[in-house]
Amino acid sequence: MFKKKHLWTIIYSAVLLAFTVYLLLDTFVITRVYSAESISGGSLPYSFSTSDEGHSATVSQGVPEGYLGSSSSGEGTAADSNTSAASGETTQTENTEALNDVMVPVVSEDSYADSHISVTLSEYREYDTTIYVADVQIDSLESLQSAFAQGLFGRNITAATSEIAEENGAILAINGDYYGSQEKGYVIRNGVLLRGTSAGREDLVIYYDGSFGIINEAEISAAELLEDGAWQVYSFGPALLIDGDIAVTESEEVGKAKASNPRTAIAIIDELHYLFIVSDGRTSESTGLSLYQLAQFIQSLGAESAYNLDGGGSSTMYFNGEVINNPTTNGNRVSERSVSDIIYIGY
């Protein structure tokens, strides 16, 4: 009698529990390697190397010829942009050789300078929080790259920011938008369309001429962005500054970022002149920033546009082989969280 009476309860509970466990494993543990979405026109016109398993590995299109800067020291600007970004004409080899022709870099604890890249690190103390700002000036957009954990595009494929940065020879790196935790949202990296499923979010577009654009996924497709010359697209948000004005409210209701937390952001000052910003948080030394405080701070640095990236335990800045900030998930222990992607400055 007992068995018959409770049989349905036992079976149903077991099924519900098993499904829940599988869902949580699928969300946080089970790795899935995705294939890049091909754009119209058939075969991918990129340097698209694949692993032995036939999955995507590191990918890069290379900045088309018309958008590459001069290789001369200190005067690098984007060339005339008459060439269409979607033309597929690349001179990656030639320009890589030019970029390789660099002067011996001058490196110190808080700066790096060679003929193509200049990075200056500064530390600020605002809102009871330590904020690290890397002032970046480059003469070619090819120096601003994205990289994936383990060189693979997929879900639950993660690695520490410092590990990814080291593998890619980064001079400076910050964590990206953690695309791997989402099932939707545009992913365009190094000129390659990897995911074009809209999540309706506000994205940051870095175009081939080095300029920033803020778009809404509901208003433009990923393929159109690619045709418009998108080099990198990040889907996290929100936008912090647009044309110098703060774009968030003091009570910004973003589901994942309401309170004071560690933050990561990227901003543009002017042509090929960027700021990489990371703040500490969740500790007694640094409480963290709200989105509005972050926007106010970046505005005070003179940025034109700024965009919020994945924060919290993911916030990490890597410079010259070291993690600069104090990444923490729960505030008790300083340790890097594994992330799915980074933005870096390097060759």
């Binding site: 349905w8 309860t9 149903y12 509970s13 519900l16 499904f19 829940t20 599988y22 869902l23 949580l24 699928d26 969300t27 946080f28 953690y178 935790s181 989402q182 099932e183 939707k184 589901g255 994942k256 970022a257 309401k258 309170a259 004071s260 937390n261 969740r282 994945d310 919290g312 729960n330």
Partner: protein
């Protein structure tokens, strides 16, 4: 369903609601200021859809019958009224409420973490389906009971 079974079912629902509320509260405390309405309000499913209706049915039954057996009924069937839901209806309905509660908690976990999973929609589909199935079975039971009463 007997009167004491109604009370037991109501207690289980109320206990579940209390547990889910406690779980949600503790989870939110450790979520670094990120809140999810699914996590905060998950306890509402067992409370509103189970605890309150079944407690109401039990209290209604007690008010009608008092503390004594119902007149004209034998002691072995005391506390049973024709409008008490039958076991299959309760099982289906409770399964649906469990799925909805589970789905709300899981969606809250995902939202607080900042991620999504297409599979989480299955909770809502199954939950709504089972709740509706339970209500349909209860409706059929009521109709049949009414017909039986009219014929007797």
């Amino acid at each position: 369903m007997k009167q004491n079974r109604l009370f037991k079912t109501a207690l289980i629902y109320l206990g579940s609601a209390a547990f889910v509320w406690l779980f949600g509260t503790v989870y939110e405390i450790f979520s670094h200021g990120v809140y999810s309405p699914y996590m905060i309000w998950a306890f509402a499913f067992p409370l509103v859809m189970g605890g309150i209706p079944f407690l109401g049915m039990y209290l209604s039954c007690r008010m009608r019958a008092g503390n004594n057996r119902l007149p004209g009924r034998s002691g072995s069937s005391a506390g049973y009224l024709w409008w008490h839901p039958c076991t299959p209806a309760v099982y289906a309905y409770s399964s649906g409420v469990a799925a909805l509660t589970c789905g709300s908690i899981v969606t809250g976990v995902l939202e607080i973490y900042g991620t999504t999973n297409r599979l989480s929609g299955i909770y809502w589909i199954c939950g709504i389906f089972l709740v509706c199935a339970g209500l349909v079975l209860y409706g059929i039971q009521l109709i049949l009971s009414q017909l039986a009463r009219k014929n007797s």
